[in-house]
Point group: C2
Chain length 492, copies 2
C-alpha cells in the first residue's frame, strides 16, 4: 500500500537539525562544497536540468511519510538520460556530496527525503517505455515510467504487469523497484522483486552497468539485480529496468463479507488460507476507514459493517466459481453478518474503490502515520486485537486497512492537526505495533521499506551480525558513502 | 538439469596442481596448519564426524562436472547440527583454511570440488524436515534433505514444492539453494530462488544467523537470503532453509511432437510462447539422446523422430484442454511429422522418463561435458543451429536436451573414454557454445552455476565493474576468504 497523493504536506523545518547533526559536517564547509558542485553541474548539464528555486525544491524534499525528517536540498537535478545520471553521480563522488534519488515521492517511510547538503536527483524525465516484448514476456522501461502507464501499455499486447501498489496511478517503476513495492494482487502474484529480471544502474563508483539478464533463467554470479530491489537508493541509481510480464488474466470474481468484529474477519482470513484457496486479492477495511469514506463519499458502508473483507479470485472457469464459493463459506462460517458474491462488476469495483479511498479519506481528518507490519497469516486476528489494545492504551485513533491475505497490515494512526501530544502518543503506538509484530513472528515492514521511519525497527528485527553484513555490503557497493546515506541504517 | 548419478567418476590426479598454484601456499606450511586444525576438530567434535580415510574422502572430493579440477581434501567433516557447522567454520577461520560445502555432489559445474588443503563439510546428516505448515504454506528444512523427500512430505499435506531439477531423487535442498537449481517445471513455476523465504546460515565471520523471514512479504533491509541463493557456498554455509510452498496442482496433460529437424522444433517452441500459453513443462530431446536411450532401454523412439518436443499443461479444466490444443496446433504448424495429446498418463510418463534417461544413457558412451546456456526464447532455434555447426566444426558429438520453454539448453558433449584429443575438441566446442549464447543475448549458465567450469564464461558475460562489485561483496561477507575460495571468481 502506498498513498494516493492528495497534496504535498509542508516541509517541517524542525527536522533539519536531525540531518545536520547526523552528517557531522560544519555548515560553512558544506556550503563551499555545494557551491563548487553546483557550478560543475551547471557546466556539465543543460540548464533546464537544475532546480535551484527553494520553493520548487521544497516539493522534491520529502515523500509521503508522516513526521519523517527532511530538509531542503541544496540542488535538485532532473536528468533526461542515463549519461546525465552518471554525470550527477560522478560529480557527487568527486565532491563527496550525498545523493538522494526519488521518483514520484509516494514512498511512506521517508526513504526519498532530502538530507542536509544533499543533491536530490528526480527520475521523472526518464520515462520511456523502451520495449514490450510479447514473445519473451518482458518490458524494458526507464525508471520514471508510472506504474499504471506500464500496465496500460502491456495491456495493448495482451500482457500484464502485476505489481499494483495503491499508488499505481502516480508512483514510478523505479521507486517501486527501489522499495520492492507490493500491492493488492501480491497475495497471489508476488511483489516487485518477483518481476525484476535485470536493470541498468549507475554504481556507487560512478560506472553505468547492466545487472541481471533478459533470459528466463540465469545464475551467472551473485543476484545483483535482486540485491538492488528494495535497497532504497543506497546501493545504486537505477536508470533502466527489465521486468517480467504475464499473460492477461481472466476477469476477477469478488466476494464481500461484512463482520461485526475485526477478530471474526481475521478468522475468516485464516480460514481462506486453510481451505487452500489462493485469492487474487484479500483486503480488509475497518470501521474507522468505512466511516471516513462515508463521511467523504457518502457510500453508506459503515451503516452495515464494522469490518469489510473483500476477496477476489481470477482463476478461470469452474475453478474460479469454486474458489469464490469457498471464500463465501469461509466468510460465513467465521461469523460474517452478511456475505455475498458480487454479480455486478461495477458494484465490486465500487467496493475496491472504497478500499483505495480509505487513506485519503482519513487524511482529511488529520495527519496519518502509516504502519506496514507483516505477520504470519495465522497471527492476523491476534495482531489486529493487539492493535485495538494499543489504540486504547495510547488513546490514538488507529484505522486498519490490510492486505489481509498475506498478513500485511497497514494500521493508520490518525491525529488531529497540530495536536503535538497526540502526535507523541501516535509515535509511541507506532513503536508498540512494531514490537507486537516482531513478537508474533512478523516483520517491521512488509512493503514500504525502512527509509527513516523503520530504522529503529530494523535494528530490533535483525540479528546484530546480519545488520553488520548489510552495512558491509553498503560499504562495498557505495565506497564513497554518497548514496542516500543515513537511510535504512545509521552511517558508520 | 542435473545428472542422475550413476556412479562417481574417479578423481583426476592431474588437476591437483591447479589448486596448489592457485592458493600460492608452500606445501609444508599448509601441512602443518592442517594437522593443527584436524587436532582441533577432533577435540571439539564427536569422533564419528570426521573422515580421514583417503578412500572415503575421495568420494567427497568432486561433483558431477566433467573435467573440473579437484583434489583430495585434507579432512572431511559430516556434522549433525548447526552448532557443529559453526564450530567447523570458526576453526577454519582460526586456521585460515578453505572450507568447501557440499550436499549430494550432483552439481555440474565443479562448485563442490575439493581444493588443495581444504576442509570439505558434507551436509547430508542435517536432514530433518522440521516443519510443514499448510496455513502459512511453508516448510522449514535442514540443508541435507533430498529434494524428492521434501516433495513427498509436502504431498501428504496437499502441498507442493515445485523446483524439480533432474537430480531431484538425490540432490539436496541445500545444494539446490546454493546453485539456485531449476528443473522442468520452472518454465511456469520459477526456480529455487522463487521459493526461498529465509534461511539460517553460518556467516564468513562464524556467526550463526537468520536471514529472510517466515512472512509472505518483507522488505526489512537488503535481501540477504536472496543473495545467498546461487552463491555456491562462497558467502556462507546454509544450516536451515525456509521455503514457500504451493497447493497441489491438477494432473498434467501431455502433448508430444516429433520433428525431422531441430530448427522446426525450435520454431514450435517460439510459437507456443507467442500463442500466450504458459506450459508447465516444454522439453526438447534430440536424435543423439533418443538413440542413446533406445540403445539402453529399447524404447523405439529414434525410429520415428529426429527431435521430440514434450509439452505439458497443468491448467485446470477447460483451460488445460485449450492449452493442450494450442500446443498441438503450434507443433503441427511448425512442421511436426507427428503430434498428439497423450490420453494415457503412463505413456506420457514414459516419454518424460526418456527425457530423464537421456543423460545417463549418454554417459554409457563416454564422459559427458554438460553445457547450460540460456538464451531468449526467440533465439532457441538459432542457438540450436549454431550448436549443430559447432559440433561439425570441432568434430564432437553434441546431444541436446533442453528446457526449451525457457530457452535453457543443455548441449551434452560426448567423447570416447580416454580420447584426449576428443576431450580437447569438446572443451573448445564448450567455449564456442558459451560465446554463441552470449552473442544471442543469453547467459553462460541458466541453472547449474559458475563453479569452476564457467569462470571464464562469467568474465565474458559480466561488465568488469559488475565483476568488481561481486568480488567486493565476496570480500565483505567472507572477510577471511575461507568460503569456497577459487570458485565463481579467481581469488583476489
Amino acid at each position: 500500500m502506498e498513498s494516493i497523493s492528495i497534496e504535498r504536506r509542508p516541509a517541517h523545518g524542525y527536522v533539519e537539525e536531525h540531518f545536520r547533526s547526523a552528517l557531522n559536517v560544519p555548515q560553512t564547509c558544506l556550503q563551499e562544497v555545494i557551491t563548487v558542485l553546483i557550478d560543475a553541474l551547471q557546466r556539465e548539464l543543460p540548464a533546464d536540468r537544475l532546480v535551484l528555486d527553494p520553493d520548487v525544491m521544497r516539493g522534491y524534499s520529502y515523500d509521503q511519510a508522516e513526521w519523517a525528517a527532511h530538509t531542503l536540498p541544496d540542488v535538485v537535478v532532473r536528468p533526461r538520460n542515463a549519461a546525465e545520471v552518471q554525470t550527477v553521480v560522478r560529480l557527487c563522488i568527486e565532491h563527496d556530496t550525498p545523493l538522494v534519488t526519488r521518483g514520484a515521492g509516494t514512498g511512506l517511510s521517508g526513504g526519498a527525503n532530502a538530507t542536509a547538503g544533499c543533491v536530490v536527483i528526480v527520475m521523472d524525465r526518464l520515462n520511456a517505455i523502451k520495449e514490450i516484448n510479447p514473445l519473451e514476456r518482458l518490458a524494458v522501461v526507464e525508471p520514471g515510467v508510472i506504474n499504471d502507464d506500464l500496465r496500460a501499455a502491456c495491456c495493448e499486447h495482451g500482457l500484464w504487469y502485476p505489481p499494483d501498489p495503491a499508488s499505481a496511478s502516480s508512483s514510478t517503476i523505479g521507486g517501486n523497484v527501489a522499495t520492492n513495492a507490493g500491492g493488492l494482487c501480491c497475495v497471489k502474484y508476488g511483489v516487485t522483486r518477483d518481476y525484476v529480471l535485470g536493470m541498468q544502474i549507475v554504481t556507487g563508483s560512478g560506472d553505468l552497468v547492466r545487472l541481471g539478464r533478459r533470459t528466463a533463467k540465469g545464475v551467472a554470479g551473485y543476484d545483483m539485480a535482486g540485491l538492488m530491489v528494495g535497497s532504497e537508493g543506497t546501493l545504486g541509481v537505477i536508470t533502466e529496468v527489465t521486468v517480467r510480464l504475464r499473460p492477461m488474466r481472466e476477469p476477477e470474481r469478488t466476494v464481500a463479507g461484512y463482520f461485526d468484529s475485526i477478530v471474526d474477519a481475521g478468522r475468516a482470513v485464516s480460514a481462506v488460507a486453510a481451505a487452500g484457496v489462493t485469492p487474487s486479492a484479500l483486503e480488509l477495511i475497518d470501521r474507522h476507514c468505512l466511516e471516513a469514506v462515508d463521511a467523504w463519499k457518502n457510500m453508506g458502508l459503515s451503516v452495515d459493517a464494522n469490518v469489510v473483507l473483500l476477496g477476489r479470485t481470477d482463476a478461470p472457469g469452474i475453478v474460479g466459481e469454486q474458489e469464490a464459493a469457498t471464500m463465501l463459506d469461509c466468510f460465513s462460517s467465521a461469523g460474517a453478518s452478511w456475505a455475498a458474491q458480487s454479480t455486478d462488476p461495477e458494484e465490486a469495483d465500487a467496493l475496491f474503490a472504497a478500499r483505495r479511498l480509505a487513506y485519503p479519506a482519513l487524511e482529511r481528518l488529520g495527519p496519518v502515520l502509516t504502519e506496514d507490519v507483516c505477520v504470519p497469516k495465522a497471527q492476523v486476528a491476534k495482531m489486529l486485537e493487539r492493535i485495538e489494545r494499543t489504540a486504547l492504551r495510547h488513546d490514538v485513533t488507529i484505522a486498519n486497512i490490510a492486505h489481509a491475505g498475506d498478513g500485511n497490515l497497514h494500521p493508520l494512526l490518525v491525529t488531529p492537526v497540530g495536536d503535538e501530544a497526540a502526535r507523541e502518543r501516535a509515535q509511541a503506538a507506532f513503536e508498540d505495533i512494531i514490537s507486537d509484530a516482531l513478537a508474533l513472528g512478523g516483520t517491521v515492514t512488509g512493503e514500504h521499506g525502512v527509509g527513516l521511519l523503520k530504522m529503529a525497527g530494523l535494528r530490533q528485527e535483525l540479528d546484530k551480525p546480519v545488520l553488520d553484513m548489510q552495512r558491509a555490503i553498503k560499504a562495498a557497493l557505495d565506497p564513497h558513502g554518497i548514496l542516500n546515506p543515513g537511510k535504512v541504517f545509521e552511517p558508520r
